[in-house]
Symmetry: C2
Amino acid sequence: MKLTCPIEKATSFLGSKWTLEIIYFLQEPRRFCELQELMGGINPATLTQRLKLLEAEGIVNREVIPDAQRHVKYELTPKGKDLVAVYRELSMWVSHWYPEEAQ
Amino acid sequence: MKLTCPIEKATSFLGSKWTLEIIYFLQEPRRFCELQELMGGINPATLTQRLKLLEAEGIVNREVIPDAQRHVKYELTPKGKDLVAVYRELSMWVSHWYPEEAQ
DNA sequence: CATCACTACTATATTTTTTATAGTAACTAT
DNA sequence: ATAGTTACTATAAAAAATATAGTAGTGATG
């Protein structure tokens, strides 16, 4: 007897390690190696997997920059940017309940 | 060169499978087996682990009801209830971007 | 122009986490 | 007396994450 939970869809991808942090850092466009550095411990295979998942979900856009080096830029789609309100609330919660750690 | 991310603390426990859903369903007090039923696929060992973690984090309160059966009730602490604002934003995001699935 | 570095990954083996399944101890209902 | 409920724990297997190394394409340095 499983009730439908309106956030079930969201938790299917947000509720896995790193995803919340990836989206947070993508509030400005980043390259793959930038994300790696920002999120110290992430494994490149995991990062790749998450970015593909978020891309498939329409939250993240992957763009190959047409320079000689063919750098890759990741950025939030409008759907992804729309999650900023969620982060605003979450940040407020953290700064309220963990005042010493927020900044 | 790891920048501090204000939601890093939050992601350390929210960013793992089931946690977001558990807190969602605890918007009203529940017993262990209720949570199990509500979240179809969760493993009891995982549920136990998550509830302990959330209890240690001060988000969930565990209470043994002093009836003969010694039922156990889980509920959100004020800190946990304060996450409701986050869920409100997340629910709005889901109902906007997944209109067919929300409800 | 050979060597080294950087970028954006992929491959493999190991470790960690999650799961399926079964079991337990205390009570309750028939 | 037997079966059912509740709140878990135990164990082994499956799935996911990690460390580590490697690759292919460029670019920079001597």
